[in-house]
């Protein structure tokens, strides 16, 4: 079975700069599968999600590689067709629910507009679908929430609205960019369960960007560990938590605090590990320049 999303040898640079920010990134996701992109800040995990959705900052150019979405070569398409395809098949769950919602508009149009714009639904159909969705994300009173402004809702409620809005057009691919980082742990648990449920029910392929290995272990089947815009390890979740292959992944796991194990002293990621992985990044760049 061919993958629903397949990214191969994707590299990107800041315009006017030889430095690459993504370094020959490759991974693939099947329908109904969740892939975690893990790494520390600056590792390029959000960048990959944005590249897939075609929403990279204007100053960043994809210099080589291929993104196949449902068999279509995104980078070879005309921008207008690409936007239409991505809009109809993929969706984003963003990190910060407060900045992702327009503060001066009620919730209803923020969910339904997209359905009209992209899928050509009428207002009435879109409204019915929005109500269904809010119900699906366990919002008790959809009517009231649709008429509310974002500031009238709690953080957890806002995140539910964004999840509903992401799943509204029955996307085949969802990119979740740190969707629970801004939430309290108890709310985080509810939201993770909700995402997992919706994803399973609709057999959505999902890219889950996070820095939290605990969260990865709950929601992903496979993960890619990133450093400096490069994939240092691809593993299944079971393999990874039984013993990561790469020294950097091992160090990351060792630095993650566990309240069940207070005596395990937290190990900051060792300088030598950082040197090793940074060396691999440099070596990759050297090989790349020769090839180019």
């Amino acid at each position: 079975m061919s993958a629903f999303l397949s990214v191969s040898n994707l590299s990107a640079s800041i315009r006017g700069n030889q430095q690459r920010v993504l370094r020959s990134v490759s991974f693939s996701i099947d329908t109904g599968e969740v892939l975690g992109l893990v790494g520390e800040s600056g590792a390029g995990k959000s960048m990959i999600g944005k590249a897939v959705l075609g929403i990279l900052p204007v100053a960043i150019d994809i210099t080589e590689g291929e993104i196949l979405l449902d068999g279509h070569d995104l980078l070879a398409m005309r921008p207008k067709d690409r936007r239409r395809l991505i809009g109809a098949t993929a969706a984003l769950i963003p990190q910060d629910p407060l900045t992702a919602l327009n503060p001066s508009r009620r919730i209803e149009p923020q969910i339904t507009n997209r359905l009209g714009d992209i899928l050509g639904w009428t207002k009435a159909t879109a409204r019915v679908r929005a109500m269904e969705l809010l119900d699906e994300v366990s919002i008790d009173n959809p009517e009231r929430v649709m008429a509310s402004y974002p500031h009238e809702l709690s953080g957890g409620m806002r995140q539910r609205v964004l999840i509903a809005s992401a799943f509204a057009a029955n996307p085949k691919l969802v990119v979740a960019d740190e969707p629970t980082t801004a939430l309290d742990v108890t709310v985080q648990k509810q939201i993770l369960r909700l995402i997992r449920e919706l994803q399973a029910r609709h057999a959505t392929a999902m890219v889950f960007v996070t820095h939290d290995l605990g969260v990865v272990s709950k929601i992903c089947q496979r993960l890619s560990v990133l450093y400096g815009g490069m994939v240092v390890e691809n593993s299944t979740v079971a393999e990874f938590f039984n013993g990561p292959k790469h020294a950097y992944s091992r160090a990351l796991l060792a630095a993650t605090p566990k309240y069940t194990d207070p005596d395990a002293s937290l190990l900051p990621v060792d300088e030598s590990v950082i040197e090793q992985v940074a060396g691999e990044v440099l070596a990759a760049d050297r090989g790349w320049r020769h090839g180019a």
């Binding site: 800040s41 309290d184 742990v185 648990k189 820095h211 939290d212 605990g214 605090p257 990621v269």
Partner: protein, 269 residues
Amino acid sequence: MALDDSLFSVSALEVALPDMAAKPVFGRAPMIPILKQIDLEIGRGSVLGIVGGSGSGKSTLGRALLRLIEPVGGSIRFDGQDITHLGEDSLRPIRRRMQMIFQDPMSSLNPRRRIGAIIADPILMHGFDRIDARVDEALDHVGLPRTFRSRYPHELSGGQRQRVGIARAIALKPEFILADEIVSGLDVSSQAQVLNVLGNLVKELGLTLAFISHDLSVIRRLCDRVMVLNRGEIAEYATADELFRTPQSAYTRELLDAIPLPDPNQANW
């Protein structure tokens, strides 16, 4: 339950803050109660963890301890002295003995000043001599090279910036430090580093520490006693061992259960 040697003892503390959203055009804003009937003791040289969800009042409790907020009821004694309603002038000598480390090192360090000047500020303000020597000593304590004095905050990594925050707090040789969510903005690797530095300093310098966090895993590493707050009230107050082994309150158990451990086979998920 007074400890023999407590640095802080707080009883029946009540804090309320004005609700500016409901303030009439003329006259006072109505007060919203934030903390209700808080009793606690912080033993000298011990580490107290304060946990709770957002809006539970953990930062407000910290600020009340430092008397950045004046309580509306109850009392706070610091080293035997009642500081509940002391005025700014009488607080000044006490302020030197209690310092704070902030959550976001980027916004709590002036971006236009060098690290040396930032750490020297509180030393100057309290009129101490040997400023350079004290700055160097503080940098040594947090494991940063002395050459960092001439750097600017943006040249440092997040973990290094937070260590500057710690250096500034210990430069005055305080007895008490309040650390408010100081690792929540950091990557796990630098988080471990900052926690280790802080843990060692507490032992080396005999500091008393109140550590506010929403992350129970971090609390377990560092704290002797833990207070769990829920909507401004104490849900549970116990030694760290008791709290993590046999949590008594339903709210604590809920918090613990909700933490995603790096383990795909964790129960109840």
